[in-house]
C-alpha cells in the first residue's frame, strides 16, 4: 500500500513549489517529487567549477509576480535591485538603460524612449491582470466566471481610452523591430529592445508577435531587474521553505517515471526507483510534452489533444555560458563599478535578426547575441575572493543543430561565443579558468525541459492565453481527470514569474473538493 496524498506535484521548479505551497496552505496534504537532488528546477544555483557558482538557467529576476510574493509572504534577499543595462558598443559608445531612462543616445531618442516605456508598461499592466488569472474558456456554454473574465478583458481594453486602445490592438500582433525603427535612431537602443523582446524565444525582432514577448517581459516589475543573493536557488529554496511550512513534503532525487492511471483517471505516480505514491490529483510542473507524452502516455488521452501537444513549438534557442574568471575583464568605456550591471551584446536590430536567421536552419549564430552579468561582483559568495564568474545567455543556439550536438560542435560554439565576447572584452580569454556551456540539449537533459525551451513552449499569440498549452486545455486541468499542469507550459508562460504555479493552485482549489 503506497502512501496517499491529496495532491502530488511532479517537479520542484519554482512553479511547482508555489503551487505546492498554496495547496498546502489550503490544507491539502501535498507531496512534491523532484528528479534532481536540488529543488528549483531551472531556477537553481550550481557550482560549475570548484569554488564558482552561478544560476544555471535563469539568472535574473524581473518577472516574479507581486501576487505570488504577497500570497506566500516571500521577500527574496537581493544582491542587486534595479540593475542598469549597458548595451555594449564595439566602439565604446555604450548606451545605458534603466527601466525608465536611457542615456548615450540622442535627446530625441531619450525622450521618445520615455513615451515608449510609458505606453509599454501601461499595456504590460493590462496584460499582467490576465497573466494572473485563469484564461477563460471560449464556448457558448462557458461558465459565468469565464464570461465575466472575457467581458472584463473587453472592458479593460476599452478603458485604455480610444487612442491607447487602438494602439494596443494594433501593436499586440506586431513585431518589435518596426516599432523600434519607427521610434529610435540609435542602433544600440533598437538592438537592446530587440534582444529583450526575443530572449528565450524562436523569434527574431522582425517576427510579428515580438511586441507581445516584450510586454510579457515587462509584465512583472516593469523591467526592473534584480539579482537574488546566492543566485536563483535562494528564491527557490525560500519557496521550498514556504511549501514545507505549509505542510508539503518535498522529496528530491525522485524522478517520476509515469503518472499512474486507473479507470481513466489519475491515481498517483510511480518513480524511476519503483516507488508508487497514491493521489487522485497529480499536478505536473513538467512541460506539457513531457507530461503528456512521457508521464501520461498518448494512449491515455485522445488523438487531437495528443496531436496538439505534439505540435507545441518548444525548441529552445537560448544557451547559458558560464565562465570562471581570475579577474574582471576590461571593457572599453566601462568603469569597474559598473560591473554589477547587465550587459547586452546586440549592437542593432539587424544584428539580432541576422543572429536569428541561422536558428531557422539549425545553425548557431555566427554573431550571437548576449545577455551578460557578473553575479560575483554583487554577490561575493559566488566566487573565491578576487575571482569572478560570468553568467551569459547566448542566442541563437538551436536545440536541433543540423550537424547534431556533439563535443565537437559544442566546443566550436563555445569558442565562437568567447571570440565574440573578446571583441568587447579583449582580455577575457586570458582570464578564463573554467567554463560551462549549457545548450538547449543540455538544459533538456539536466533540467528535464523538452526542447530546452525556457518557456516550456514558444510564447507566441498562437500559444498564448486561450491556446496555451493547447486550445481546450488552457484552464490548468488536462483532459484526464485529476491531472493538472502548473508549469511554464501552461498559461501564462515562463520566466521566474510564478504566475502559472499560483493560477494552477487556485484552479485546483476551485475545482477539486477535498476527497
Amino acid at each position: 500500500m503506497s502512501e496517499r496524498y491529496d495532491a502530488i506535484v511532479v517537479g520542484a521548479g519554482h512553479n511547482g513549489l508555489i503551487c505546492a505551497s498554496l495547496l498546502g496552505k489550503a490544507g491539502r496534504k501535498v507531496l512534491v517529487l523532484e528528479a534532481n537532488e536540488q529543488v528549483g528546477g531551472a531556477a537553481v544555483t550550481r557550482e560549475f567549477a570548484s569554488g564558482y557558482s552561478v544560476s544555471s538557467c535563469a539568472h535574473l529576476l524581473y518577472q516574479l509576480q507581486p501576487q505570488v510574493q504577497k500570497d506566500l509572504g516571500l521577500k527574496p534577499d537581493l544582491a542587486a535591485d534595479g540593475m542598469s543595462t549597458v548595451v555594449l558598443s564595439p566602439e565604446g559608445n555604450h548606451v545605458r538603460l534603466n527601466e525608465k531612462q536611457v542615456s548615450g543616445v540622442s535627446e530625441e531618442d531619450a525622450a521618445e524612449y520615455q513615451h515608449f516605456y510609458k505606453r509599454m508598461t501601461r499595456f504590460a499592466d493590462l496584460l499582467r491582470t490576465y497573466l494572473n488569472k485563469m484564461p477563460p474558456r471560449l464556448a457558448k456554454n462557458a461558465s459565468k466566471s469565464d464570461m465575466l473574465t472575457l467581458a472584463q478583458l473587453g472592458f479593460d481594453i476599452r478603458r485604455l481610452g480610444k487612442v491607447e486602445m487602438q494602439e494596443f490592438l494594433r501593436l499586440i500582433g506586431m513585431n518589435i523591430r518596426d516599432e523600434a525603427v519607427e521610434r529610435f535612431e540609435s542602433g544600440l537602443l533598437r538592438g537592446a529592445i530587440s534582444l529583450d523582446a526575443t530572449l528565450g524565444t524562436h523569434l527574431g525582432p522582425r517576427s510579428p508577435n515580438t511586441i507581445l514577448t516584450y510586454l510579457y517581459r515587462l509584465a512583472g516589475a516593469h523591467g526592473k531587474i534584480s539579482q537574488p543573493k546566492g543566485g536563483m536557488s535562494a528564491v527557490t529554496e525560500a519557496l521550498a521553505h514556504s511549501a514545507r511550512n505549509n505542510g508539503a513534503v518535498i522529496r528530491t532525487g525522485m524522478p517520476v517515471k509515469r503518472i499512474v492511471i486507473e479507470n481513466g483517471r489519475v491515481a498517483g505516480v510511480k518513480t524511476e526507483g519503483g516507488e508508487t505514491f497514491s493521489s487522485s490529483l497529480v499536478v505536473s510542473n513538467a512541460d506539457p510534452k513531457t507530461t503528456i507524452m512521457n508521464l501520461v502516455k498518448a494512449r491515455n488521452v485522445e488523438t487531437q489533444f495528443t496531436h496538439r501537444i505534439h505540435h507545441i513549438r518548444s525548441k529552445g534557442n537560448a544557451a547559458k555560458l558560464h565562465l570562471a574568471l581570475d579577474g574582471l575583464p576590461a571593457i572599453d568605456g566601462i568603469e569597474k563599478r559598473e560591473f554589477g550591471d547587465r550587459f547586452l551584446i546586440a549592437p542593432d536590430d539587424n544584428y539580432v535578426e541576422r543572429a536569428f536567421n541561422h536558428a531557422k536552419y539549425g545553425e548557431t549564430s555566427i554573431k550571437p547575441v548576449f545577455e551578460i552579468t557578473f553575479p560575483s561582483f554583487r554577490d561575493s559568495g559566488l566566487a573565491p575572493a578576487g575571482k569572478h564568474v560570468m553568467s551569459a545567455i547566448v542566442q541563437y543556439v538551436p536545440y536541433e543543430l543540423r550537424e547534431g550536438w556533439s563535443d565537437k560542435s559544442r566546443a566550436a560554439f563555445q569558442e565562437l561565443a568567447i571570440d565574440t565576447l573578446a571583441e568587447y572584452m579583449p582580455d577575457l580569454p586570458d582570464r578564463i579558468t573554467a567554463t560551462e556551456l549549457l545548450t538547449p540539449v543540455d538544459i533538456e537533459e539536466q533540467f528535464h525541459i523538452s526542447g530546452g525551451h525556457w518557456h516550456h513552449g514558444e510564447l507566441t499569440l498562437d500559444q498564448f492565453l486561450f491556446t496555451r498549452p493547447v486550445g481546450g486545455a488552457a484552464q490548468y486541468a488536462m483532459p484526464l481527470d485529476g491531472l493538472y499542469l502548473c508549469g511554464a507550459g501552461a498559461h501564462p508562460g515562463g520566466g521566474v514569474s510564478g504566475a502559472a504555479g499560483r493560477n494552477a493552485a487556485r484552479a485546483i482549489l476551485k475545482r477539486e473538493a477535498v476527497v
Partner: protein
Amino acid sequence: MKTYDAIVVGAGHNGLTNAAYLAKSGLDVLCLEKNDYIGGATVSRNLYKDWYYSNCSYVCSLLRPEIFRDLDLARHGLQVTPYGGGTVFMENGDYLGNYPNAEVHYREYARFSKADADAYERYSADTMRQCRFIRDFLLRTPPDPTSFKPKDLRELAHLGAKFYEMGEQRMYDTIRFWTMSVAEYLDEYFETDVIKAALSGSGIIGTALGIHSPGTAYVLLHHYMGDVDGNMGAWGYARGGMGSVAKAICSAFQSYGGELRTDAGVEQITVSNKKVTGVALTTGEEIKAPIVVSAMDVKRTFLKCMDKNDLDEDFYRRVKNFKIRGSSGKLNIALDGLPTFPALPKGSPLLDGDMHFIDSMERMERAYDDWKEGTWSKDPYVDMVIPTVCDPTMAPPGKHFMSCFVQYCPAQVEGRDWTDEERDQFGQTVIDQISEYSPDFKDLILHCEVRTPREIENEAGLTEGNIFHGELTMDQLMFNRPIPGYAQYRGPVGGLYMCGSSNHPGGGVMAAPGCNAAREILTDLKRPDITPVNFGDD
C-alpha cells in the same frame, strides 16, 4: 466651371467600382486617371507587337462575385475562365503536381506520402472553414471597436456571433490560424517538404514576411478565400488579360453616366475649412467636388497628394508608419513558342497550370533573408503562368505570353534606388532559374519587361510597388486597416473617402474596398444603399 458630385482619384479596379456604384446611385461622378490607360494594376498592356501583357496582376479569383453580378460585368465584356493545376519543379528532377481532380491530386501527394495525401482533406476542410469565416466580412465595413455607435456595436456583435458559431475547439483553431506562421500551420498537417513548400507560397505572396513569420497563415487565406463560380480557392484568367476586368467595370461606370478622364494626374486633393473642395491636376487645372474618393494607397493619398497642413499631426505620423513594403517584382515575357519542361511527361495537364521552382521550406525562407538584407532573392520564389495556353486573345497564334511573379524583390536595393543594371540582373536571376527546368526557354524570349517595385510604383502608382497597398499583417487588418480609427473608408477631412486596397479587406483584384467605400458614402449622403450583400451560404 462644372462641379461634380464626386471625384474618384485613380481608375484601378477599386476606383472604378466605387465610381460605378456612385454613378449608379445617380451621382455625377468623375473618375480621374494619371495614366493614358485605365486599370491601375489591373491592366493589359500592349508593350510588344501584338502581345497583351497582364503586366501587374495576372490571375483572378478574389473579384467578389456579388459585384461581378451586380455590375453586370459579363455583359460589359468580362469573362473569367478557371485554370487548373500547377507544378513545383524539384532540384532532383522530380516534380510535385497540383491536379484539379481531387482523386489525381490524392495520388500525386500519395507518391510522396499517403498520410499527406489524406491530410490534405483535413487541411482543405480546416482552411475552408477559415475562408467561410472571413468571406462573410469582405463586403462589410469593419466595426470600430472603440465606438459605442449602434452600427459598430451591431457589427461587433455580428463578428462575435460568427466566431462563436464555430464551436469551442474551432474558435481556438481560429485564433491560432490568425496568429501563426504558414510554415507552422502546414507542419500540423504535412510531413513532406515539397508539399509544404508548394502550399506555403500562398502565405507570402505580396507580403514582406517569410514563411516562418507569425501571421502568414492568414495571408494564405487571402489567396484561398476567392472563388471562380463557387469553387473556393480556384483561380482563373480574365479573357484578354486582367485589363478586361478594369475595362468591364469602367464600361459599367460609363453606362451609369459616369465620366472618365485619363492622362489626368492629381497633384493635390484640395481642402478648405477641413472639407475637401476638389482636386488640382498636375496641369494646374482645378476640379470642384464636395466628395473626393481616393483609390490610391494611403501613403500616396496623404503623403503625396495632400497638404500636410490639412492633416492632423498624429494622423500624418501614422500614415508615414503604415507598412507598405515592396516585396515582389514581375517579369512579363513574350515567347516565340511554348517552352518545354522535360521533367513533366509529354502532354501533362500540368503544363497548363502555374509553375514554381522552389522545392523546400528552407529555400522559401532563405529567399526572405535576402530581402531583409535589402536585395532581391538570389533563389526567388516565382509564380509563373502562361495564360495564352487557354486565352487566345493575348498573343498571336502559336506565340505566348508568360507572367512571372517574383518574390522577394525590395523597393530599394540596400537602401538606395534601383539602377537599370540591377533591374536587369534581377530579371536574369529569374530567367536563369526557369531555364534550369526549361532548356529552350531562353531562346524563345522575344521581349521581356522586368518590373521591380520601382517600375511598379512609377507606372501603377503603388507605393513601394506593394501589390496589396499595404502589408496584410494583423496590425493592418480589419479595424486596423489602414489605420485604427479610419477603417470605415472615411478620411480625416470632411468629404474625403478612401476606396483603395489599403482599406479593408485589402488587396488583390477583389473590388470589395471600392464597393464598401461606396456604401459608406451613400450612407453619409442618406441615399439608398445599392451595393450588393454577401451571397451568403447559410
